[in-house]
Amino acid sequence: MNALIETKEKLISPYIDEKVMDEFKQFMGEEGGDMVKELKELYLTNTPKLISNIKKDIKARDMDSLKTHVHGLKGSSAQLGVTGIASLSRDIEDVIPSGRFDEIEALFKHLLDVYKKVKITFTNQL
């Protein structure tokens, strides 16, 4: 019993709002569980691509491209209730107009750390 609670606690991440996917799962009825899994798989496939694009944009100082990619990451994260990534993406979006790249880089580094944790949580849930 204790082991079960411990495992459960490990699965709960402060960066994920479980309510978002729970609502979707319930809404979709019987297929809900499978669809949530598919969405998480899709997220784990797509996010590394977006992250690598963002990395390139920062390196090349390409504001327009950075804006689009960060915006995309924010949207897809919000769809799955990955609030940690969604809010960091928004923070980056807010800094972009100022052109303070040191700040953008610091936020992005933090975002990478959070993604690592989210990845572990999602992988465990699959």
Partner: protein, 404 residues
């Protein structure tokens, strides 16, 4: 009415958002066309012979943003009127203004709940269908449902219509069961009456105020307050037209909308209420005896001096065989049919047996859609033009949605 499924186009570059929104809309019973590329989507839209009923559109997309997409769609005669909801994660007012200027009809935050998505889609589709309809919108605060023959679904329509209006505008509605003797509505909603207006016979000369009626009301989880009908013949006989005169002013203050199950025969109390109601939905089955009874009812209404546009015939297809078609019925009644409710007796009986109204058990069925659309046509005139008195956030929301 709504035989064809509504078709919705989603244009969204994020695969994840696309997957989720598409799944939800399919689940809600819509036909969905989805593109993750705005340019391909525009090509399709400008060349398809089957225009979508609604477009859900992302704002920030590579290649072409949502605003430009809207301008192109609005710039073509064929597509200028297709309703568009912008999907946005921005809370930036500049975005909203630009979207409105470009011609979007509504906004939806990407983090919005699924029920908000459902509500906005339904409201915009209902609005689209209502402007397509030849019958103008109606403002009615009190809607009586009546028939001169039993078994045509008066109570069922009353219950489901009350819920539909409540859901559409996120408001409370009051359903008054004044059909004598059986308390059918309470049964359909699985509620148990405590006291009924038959106890008001002692009140003769006193004023019946709202609080007296509130004690009788039964709360249904859908947002409908039920004022239950008299149980049994004895109780029914206690109710006179005088009781109705006493009750009428107070009953209108209970909720923004009053739906009355007026039963299936003429009596003094019934006529008192039918005279006061803003609208009468005259329910009939698509068979000769029912059409004949309705014709008689229309004659009585005419003799009583009711305006012709106060009475709206509703054909409820409670039978499936040897039925008359709507054109024949309309020419028999010499009156246009307001709404036709499709045949689905199995589901209706199941709903009654379960004590959960059909519109809640099967919100996507054709019957529910017909009732929702009827609810919109009966209430949108009022809700859209009404000036703010005590607007709830939901009501403001619905207004904003319909005014944009």
């Amino acid at each position: 009415m709504d035989e064809k499924k509504d078709q919705i186009l989603i244009v969204e570059d994020s695969d994840i958002t696309l997957y989720k929104v598409k799944a939800v809309l399919i689940r809600l019973g819509y036909d969905v066309t989805a593109y993750n590329n705005p340019i391909t989507a525009l090509d399709w839209l400008l060349s398809t012979p089957n225009l979508p009923d609604l477009i859900l559109l992302d704002v920030v997309m590579p290649g072409m943003d949502g605003f430009e997409f809207i301008r192109r769609v609005r710039g073509k005669k064929e597509t200028e009127k297709v309703p568009i909801i912008l999907l946005t994660s921005h809370v930036d007012t500049r975005d909203k203004i630009e979207g409105l200027e470009a011609g979007a009809d509504d906004y939806l935050g990407k983090s919005a709940s699924l029920s908000e998505l459902e509500f906005r889609v339904k409201a915009l589709l209902a609005r689209k269908h209502s402007t397509e309809s030849s019958i103008t919108q109606i403002s009615a605060r009190s809607i009586a449902i009546f028939s001169l023959r039993g078994g045509v679904g008066v109570s069922s329509i009353a219950v489901n219509l009350s819920i539909a209006i409540s859901q559409l505008w996120s408001i409370e509605t009051c359903l008054w069961d004044m059909a004598m003797g059986v308390s059918q509505c309470a049964l359909m909603m699985n509620l148990k009456p405590i006291s009924t207006i038959s106890t008001l016979t002692d009140w003769t000369e006193k004023t019946v105020d709202e609080s007296v009626l509130r004690n009788m009301l039964l709360k249904h989880k859908s947002g409908v307050w039920l004022m239950p009908g008299a149980v049994g013949v004895e109780e029914s006989e206690l109710i006179s037209s005088h009781t109705m005169d006493l009750v009428w002013p107070a009953v209108q203050t209970l909720a923004p909308y009053l739906i009355i199950d007026a039963g299936n025969h003429f009596s003094d109390p019934t006529l008192t209420i039918l005279e006061r109601a803003d609208i009468i939905l005259l329910v009939l089955a698509p068979e000769l005896a029912s059409v004949n009874a309705s014709y008689q009812a229309l004659k009585v209404f005419n003799d009583l001096g009711f305006p012709a546009d106060k009475v709206l015939p509703v054909v409820n297809r409670v039978i499936s065989q040897n039925t008359l078609d709507v054109t024949k019925i309309a020419s028999g009644l010499k009156k246009q049919i307001f709404v036709e409710i499709p045949y689905d007796s199995k589901a209706m009986v199941k709903a009654i047996n379960q004590g959960t109204p059909h519109i809640l058990t099967s919100p996507k069925s054709e019957v529910s859609q017909a009732i929702s659309s009827m609810a919109y046509r009966l209430s949108s005139g009022e809700m859209e033009t009404k000036k703010a008195e005590e607007p709830s956030p939901q009501l403001e929301n619905a207004r904003k949605l319909l005014h944009s």
